[in-house]
């Protein structure tokens, strides 16, 4: 009965998404590992890794949607959390290389031997244990989000200013991680991984397992985000997004709401990063680049922010388009991406899922209105809220505040 309530409360959409993801988590590995090569239904090895990568991006977009679509924080630095989770996983994988590296040092990764370091720095301790690394994957982005958010939200930094300083945060981290003497591999990053929990990273079995893990993680994140957004806290989040001052005057604490959402989002992004690194095989400071973080925003925007499904679809679609473009017409990809930004903001402000959802809502409202019509009374159509509901202001430029 509780499950029934749970499911009814969270909606049918959840059923579909989670079901599809779990199905994929089972079917793709099965088809990749059990079907013979050349079989038309077999998923090739490269595609398993590629789809795994897309799913980690989808998780990242979902994380951003939680803070942007529901709380109104346009974070242009979410790539930082993704990259931090990735680095934590990368550090674990580097320790697993052991003495099989180029320099054959059991303790120190190759780049440290190259830099003439004699011992492991303190921040690398513990990363040879999987559980510790996984803890760090969640703790480090979470901690950064907590500290950053604590200072930012309590000082009521909002809007464009907040976006700019999230960008500054990720830019500063990028500069820091590019330095060779930071001890994180410098501009080469961490790479050349061999094993993860004892299994070879390159083996098709491990890849399939990683894909399945990613799909399951995405499903779990989706459930968590749905639970949050459909709860009372979710309603307060939307209130903070649409009318922050009013929410504060009523008695809620917007800064804590924002902080909570920001930290949860950062943790999800960190896990996404950790799943991304073994499938891609490398993590380098370029992941911190502000351009990457802004791309996440377009995935969420294309799919439809404020809906949790939208960013998942958007991330997969846009990245598929990127893969296709950069293979077929590499010179045109940036035109396409730029055009996508402009087109989505101008013509598809609610994204694909949002627009479809809106269409169905309109049809439902019209049908309800027509159904309740009495012959001698004029048709009362329900008031349509203004199109730009998500941003809340009226249709004229506001001065910067």
């Amino acid at each position: 009965m509780i499950t029934q309530l749970f499911i009814r409360a969270l909606g049918a959409r959840l059923y579909w998404v989670v079901g599809l993801l779990l199905l994929a988590a089972i079917l793709v590995p099965v088809s990749n590992l059990l079907l013979p090569i050349g079989h038309p239904l077999r998923v090739p090895n490269y595609m398993v890794a590629l789809m795994g990568k897309y799913l980690t991006y989808a998780m990242l977009a979902l994380a951003l949607d939680l803070v942007w679509g529901y709380v109104g924080i346009l974070s242009l630095g979410h790539g930082a959390f993704f990259a931090l989770g990735g680095y934590a996983m990368g550090m674990y994988l580097m320790r697993q290389i052991g003495s099989r590296g180029v320099y054959g040092n059991a303790e120190l990764p190759d780049f440290m031997v190259f830099l003439n370091w004699s011992e492991l720095p303190w921040y690398w301790w513990g990363f040879d244990h999987f559980w510790f690394a996984m803890l760090m994957v969640m703790a480090v982005p979470g901690l950064l989000a907590f500290v950053f958010g604590w200072f930012a939200f309590r000082s009521r930094v909002t809007g464009v200013y907040l976006s700019v300083i999230t960008q500054a945060m990720t830019y500063a981290l990028m500069l820091a991680f590019f330095r060779n003497d930071m001890g994180f591999g410098g501009n080469n990053g961490l790479t050349d991984f061999r094993e993860i929990v004892g299994y070879s990273i390159q083996a098709p079995g491990t890849r399939a397992a990683l894909f399945a893990a990613t799909a399951v993680a995405l499903a779990l994140s989706f459930v968590i985000c749905s639970a949050i957004t459909k709860s009372k806290l979710g309603k307060i989040m939307v209130a903070v997004r649409d009318a922050e001052s009013r929410t504060r005057f009523i008695g809620y604490r917007p800064e804590y709401v924002k902080l909570f959402a920001f930290v949860v989002s950062a943790v999800i992004a960190g896990i996404a990063g950790a799943l991304y690194v073994p499938q891609v095989g490398i993590i380098n400071p370029g992941e911190f680049a502000p351009a990457n973080s802004i791309e996440i925003v377009v995935w969420a925007a294309v799919g439809g922010r404020g809906t949790l499904v939208g960013p998942i679809i958007g991330a997969i679609l846009v990245n598929y388009a990127k893969t296709w473009f950069t293979a077929a017409y590499p010179d045109l990809w940036l035109f396409a991406l730029g055009g996508l930004f402009v087109a989505v903001t101008l013509f598809l402000p609610k994204g694909i899922v949002g627009t479809i959802g809106r269409y169905f809502e309109d049809r439902r409202d019209t049908k309800a209105a027509r159904a309740s019509e009495t012959p001698d009374l004029p048709v009362v159509r329900p008031e349509k809220p203004p199109v730009h509901r998500l941003s809340g202001a009226d249709a004229s430029p506001q001065p910067a505040e």
Binding site: V160, L334, F341, P397, A400, E401
Partner: protein, 539 residues
């Protein structure tokens, strides 16, 4: 009386002149004198050396140097004086006077003209006379500098004479410093030593520091405190110079930031939109300069020095028009949604970057400095390059012009009104959409001007804008949008802070620290230094 005074003062010169006249029926030429070198004793050679010096022949100095180094040889058969090169036997011979090669000679057929220390001293004196007391000021200066570098204690008397007669202030200065160095290396009495230390300390640069530190290592106890005081003085002066240099670098960087950020500040202030394509406007300004310069190079090469004067209005127009087009075409439809505008302008920036990359290629393009912007000058020990100097002036001019536009023109008045209260301004009859378009155009135009300036000091590539966009944001966020002065103060502060941190932390870490500082600063003043005053509560 006058005659004896004259004799006394110029006794050396007269002696030499007399010798020269006595040496032969008429003044002998250098060739004749040189041929007499191999004969006679060392003291005879010393006399010939002074006669050679007296001739004032320009080849004499090199010849005498070669003699002192033991490089002169005589071909026994012909008596010709040669220098030898090569190894083994036979050797290549070159005439010492004319420099012509005379072919090969057997080693046995030449004899080296030998020198001893007293002869060397005589040569040194003679060379010193030739150069230090030459008629040409440049020669004297070169000789004095060479003596400063050499620091030979034996030069003291020579320098004393030269100083007594020197009229040119600059040459005199160098001579005195050379003399001081020579004294430091010799065994002078404490008073003279102290005076020499003071002279070097006054010179105050790194070379002086090196000289004094070398003297310290070989000094006796009684002169050590003098030298140490001199060293301390120089180091104090050098530290001050370093600070001054850093301040200059900071001001120069601040001017660049100001140029890049001021357009953004205006747009953000009036319209509340952060224009992520601002960096690309700067880049387009730089490319316009490139095109204008190319055109001038091909069609009117003599006007190259004026190329910037043409590039400035061209860049302003091009980027201004593109800015207005962006505003009318994209931003107008996104009113009230600043975050969406941010994204849309980011998309536009990608498109513009890729368009430039496709048209001009991804590699750097060459933009040259006009001649009046090349080189540098020295300002009390601080080296200031002309191009950065002019960019600082240009930034201040642009700032002043903008202030003028904002405070004294109708457009400026309307812009300020719209910034303060858009609805009220609209009610008063101001056409706010038109003001928006003009503001965006103005902001983009200024970015274009910044691009012209930046093309002089930075690489012109499609990625030029990206390098400045984050810094521009930081300036705007830090300085606030209430006031143009905020942008000025913000830009200069960030520039100077950055350059002050650099010597201690390195360029990258300095930038990181600055970013962290801004993030923390925003907590204290969420709207920047010079915030917009008002009581509007958002949403």
């Amino acid at each position: 009386m006058i005659f004896t005074d004259f004799l006394r003062r110029h006794v050396m010169m007269i002696a030499v002149a007399l010798l020269a006249t006595c040496g032969g029926a008429s003044a002998q030429s250098v060739e004749d004198l040189v041929r007499q070198l191999p004969e006679g004793s060392y003291s005879d050679r010393a006399e010939i050396v002074s006669q050679i010096a007296a001739t004032g022949d320009p080849r004499a100095a090199n010849l005498l140097d070669a003699l002192a180094a033991g490089e002169l040889n005589v071909v026994e058969a012909t008596g010709q004086i040669v220098t030898l090169s090569g190894r083994g036997d036979p050797l290549d011979a070159v005439d010492a006077l004319t420099g012509e090669s005379i072919g090969e000679v057997a080693k046995a057929s030449v004899e080296r003209i030998r020198v001893n220390n007293s002869l060397r001293r005589a040569v040194r004196t003679a060379v010193g006379q030739l150069t230090l007391m030459s008629g040409d000021a440049n020669t004297r200066m070169t000789a004095a500098r060479a003596m400063f570098q050499a620091g030979d204690p034996d030069n003291v008397e020579l320098l004393d004479e030269a100083i007594a007669e020197e009229q040119n202030a600059a040459v005199l200065q160098v001579m005195e410093e050379a003399r001081a160095v020579a004294i430091l290396r010799s065994d002078a009495e404490p008073a003279a030593f102290a005076a020499a230390v003071d002279t070097i300390a006054v010179r105050g640069d790194r070379q002086a520091l090196g000289i004094l530190q070398a003297a310290l290592s070989s000094a006796t106890a009684d002169v050590t405190p003098t030298i140490e005081k001199g060293i301390a003085d120089i180091q104090g002066r050098l530290a001050l110079l370093d600070v001054g240099q850093n301040v200059w670098y900071g001001v120069s960087l601040g001017a660049v930031l100001l140029l890049a950020a001021i357009g953004l500040a205006i747009t953000f202030g009036v319209m509340g939109v952060i224009n992520m394509a601002h960096g690309e406007m700067v880049m387009l300004g730089a490319y316009t300069t490139f095109l204008v310069q190319n055109f001038i190079r091909v069609s009117f090469p003599e006007l190259f020095d004026w190329s910037l004067a043409f590039a400035l209005p061209a860049a302003f127009l091009v980027t201004g028009l593109i800015g207005i087009a962006i505003e009318r075409g994209v931003i107008r439809f996104l009113y009230g949604r600043p975050l969406e505008t941010l994204l849309a302008t980011w998309g536009l920036s990608l498109i513009i970057q890729q368009a430039v990359r496709t048209t001009f290629g991804a590699s750097n393009r060459e933009v040259g400095n006009p001649s009046w912007m090349s080189g540098s000058f020295d300002f009390y020990g601080i080296a200031i390059t002309w191009n950065r100097f002019f960019i600082v002036i240009f930034a201040l001019i642009v700032f002043a012009a903008l202030l003028l536009v904002l405070k004294r023109t109708a457009l400026g008045l309307q812009m300020r009104a719209v910034t303060q209260n858009r609805r009220m301004a609209s009610s008063m009859g101001i056409r706010t959409p038109w003001v928006d378009a003009m503001t965006f155009g103005l902001g983009s135009g200024i970015a274009g001007l910044a691009g012209v300036a930046l093309s002089q000091i930075d690489n012109v590539s499609p990625n030029l804008g990206q390098g400045y966009i984050i810094d521009s944001f930081m300036v705007v966020v830090f300085g606030g949008v209430g006031n143009l002065w905020g942008t000025l103060v913000g830009a200069m502060t960030l520039g100077v802070l950055n350059k002050f941190l650099e010597p201690y932390a390195g360029a990258v870490l300095a930038k990181i620290l600055l970013l962290v500082f801004i993030i923390l600063f925003i907590q204290k003043r969420p709207r920047g230094l010079f915030a917009q005053k008002g009581r509007a509560v958002e949403a």
